[in-house]
């Protein structure tokens, strides 16, 4: 006589319906097999593989060929493209620009987003209105943002006329033609466009902070400053991970805003790698352009993964 049978018999005897097999197994303490079928993965992976992975990998394969718009045949050329690319200085210069740009964007977007979230935390109607307004740049297309800031930052544009009015004499600074500082300005514009999203994520993060902990701190006499740094900021770690990761990845993979405002100028000082890739592609040197994509990919992986891993670790620690 097995235990099962006796349990059943007892159950039957007491008038209850026989327990279904699964529950019996659970009652026995054996692990229930997971109920998520493998085929649930299929649609997603099928679409992902066909419409994303295959073309992307294909594209990277072309980095090892001499694919160009000039001729029909494609021949493998091994590492030739990499050699010639690395020996010209442009790749390294553009990589440097891209990395600096990404870091600046990640910094500004997060700082602005956090400040806005803190400022607009309370649910007043003014704050709610302001939140929607700050989301407007997020909604505008990058092209539109580019046009707007071109108009604002021309030497005879709006920003200069405001500064001129304040300073008392005409200001004709060419914001988008400064070989030293334009990269900074463009990073600021990028942050301006996306800070609404960072604000939203930080707002959400702030709202999940346990009110009791804050009450306790206040009773203990902690100042606003202390409350922030020691309780709220650490608890915002997940939000920060998300924001920093998306800012880094977003700025390194996209080029809309830079293209729309400066096109990589002046003197190629804002030429992030994607713009160089686009330009090379436009000259018909397809294989060289895909080589650069491959290099960019490696750089992104090298930069992004450790950063995300570090931030995730910090989340868990905190």
């Amino acid at each position: 006589m097995t235990l099962t049978a006796s349990t059943d018999a007892a159950a039957l005897a007491s008038g209850a319906p026989p327990t279904p097999p699964g529950r019996r197994a659970a009652a026995r303490g054996r692990r229930v097999r997971p109920g998520q079928p493998w085929w649930f993965l299929l649609p997603a992976l099928a679409v992902l593989t066909t419409f994303f992975l295959v073309p992307t990998i294909y594209n990277l394969v072309y980095a090892f060929t001499d694919w160009s718009s000039f001729k029909t045949a494609i021949n493998p050329v091994g590492f030739d493209n990499f050699h010639s690319l690395l020996s010209s200085g442009v790749l390294l210069a553009d990589l440097r620009t891209t990395v600096i740009y990404a870091l600046l964007v990640a910094l500004f977007q997060n700082v602005f987003g956090l400040l806005l979230a803190l400022l607009l935390e309370a649910d007043t109607s003014l704050n709610r209105f302001a939140r929607v307004m700050f989301f407007v740049p997020v909604i505008m297309s990058a092209l539109a943002v580019g046009y707007v800031f071109q108009a604002l930052l021309k030497p005879t544009g709006v920003v200069n006329s405001i500064l001129g009015a304040l300073a008392g004499h005409p200001v004709r600074y060419a914001w988008l033609a400064d070989t030293r500082w334009t990269l900074l300005y463009v990073a600021l514009i990028h942050a301006w466009k996306w800070m609404g999203l960072a604000m939203l994520i930080y707002l959400a993060g702030l709202k999940t902070i346990d009110q009791d902990a804050l009450e306790a701190a206040r009773i203990d006499g902690a100042t606003t400053w202390q409350t922030f740094w020691q309780i709220r900021f650490p608890l915002l770690a997940p939000a920060m991970t998300f924001n920093v990761a998306t800012a880094l990845l977003g700025s390194m993979n996209s080029f809309d805003i830079v293209q729309a405002t400066t096109g990589g100028g002046p003197a190629q000082t804002t030429e992030i790698l994607n713009i160089f890739i686009y330009r090379t592609f436009g000259q018909g040197l397809f294989a060289q352009a895909t080589t650069m994509s491959l290099v960019l990919l490696v750089v992104i992986a090298v930069m992004a993964f450790p950063t995300i891993w570090l931030l995730r670790r910090r989340e868990q620690v905190l």
Partner: protein
């Protein structure tokens, strides 16, 4: 804290907010809106000044509406965004459920592949070549599938993270009661996913609504979407002489998303709060 200083504090906050709004948003948005109402001559040099030759809102917006085929572009954009979002959320959630609940080496490897799309840049040319071979180049279906492919990794990443924060007890109980996985998924898991689905919807909508790069190569010239037609409007005037029309178009293009956001704002924040960031 004394009453007086609290009163002072209470004044500072709105002043700061309003000041920030004016400075960081007011100037650019004023420029856009005012220029969109100017005549061509006035708009040649965009400035904050009010128009000297009268308001032309009606003329500009209706010109943009017809020249830019805004209605057809709107329909085009919507008929691309909606199916893409539905497919992404459905397939993404299905896959995310498996990734979040199952363990094992194979699962981890597949997961890594599934989210690799976040880092990998999509390759336009080979993508379009593939579409041609499948006979989908220049079609809305092709465009929807392209966007679904590009953003699938993002969707899976989000939803998996979220599901991991949901205790599996409810599902286990249902399974033990004899419910099949499909039923468990749709009746138990999906309702719990509402917050992350809301967040993912917003993000994906943002990316796809404004995308012009991929749209140009897949359907450019054959179908209308709002960003593609912005290009047409901007290029209708030589040498950017059409600031008034460009900005009118920008306003028209941004309004639908803005309205949607304003209406759903509270839901979205609570949705994100719900745990997408956990």
């Amino acid at each position: 804290m004394s009453g007086a200083s609290r009163g002072w504090r209470r004044l500072v906050h709105p002043v700061v907010v309003v000041g920030l709004l004016l400075f960081a948003l007011g100037v650019p948005l004023w420029l856009v809106v005012v220029t969109s109402g100017k005549s061509r001559g006035d708009a040649l040099s965009p400035s904050l000044a009010l128009p000297r030759h009268g308001w032309h809102f009606g003329a500009n917006y209706s010109k943009v509406f017809t020249d830019g085929r805004v209605w057809s572009a709107f329909v085009g954009s919507v008929s691309i965004v909606v199916p893409s979002v539905v497919l992404l959320l459905l397939f993404g959630a299905m896959a995310a459920w498996v990734f979040a609940r199952r363990r094992g080496f194979a699962v981890s490897m597949l997961y890594a592949v599934a989210i690799s799309g976040i880092v990998l840049p999509p390759a336009v040319i080979t993508l379009v070549l593939l579409l041609r071979q499948l006979g989908l180049a220049g079609t809305l279906t092709g465009m929807v599938l392209v966007y679904t492919g590009i953003y699938m990794s993002t969707a899976i990443f989000f939803i998996t993270g979220f599901i991991r924060t949901i205790p599996p007890q409810l599902e286990e109980a249902a399974r033990v009661d004899g419910a099949g996985p499909v039923r468990i998924f749709f009746t138990i898991v999906v309702p719990l996913l509402r917050p992350v689905l809301a967040t993912a919807t917003i993000l994906i909508c943002l990316y796809i609504w404004n995308d012009v790069f991929y749209a140009f190569f897949v359907i450019g010239g054959r179908k209308d979407t709002l960003p593609l037609n912005l290009f047409q409007v901007a290029s209708a005037g030589l040498y950017l002489n059409n600031w008034h029309l460009i900005f009118a178009y920008v306003v028209l293009m941004s309004v639908p998303l803005l309205v949607a956001f304003a209406v759903a704002q509270r839901r979205i924040i609570s949705g994100i709060t719900g745990g997408a960031v956990k």
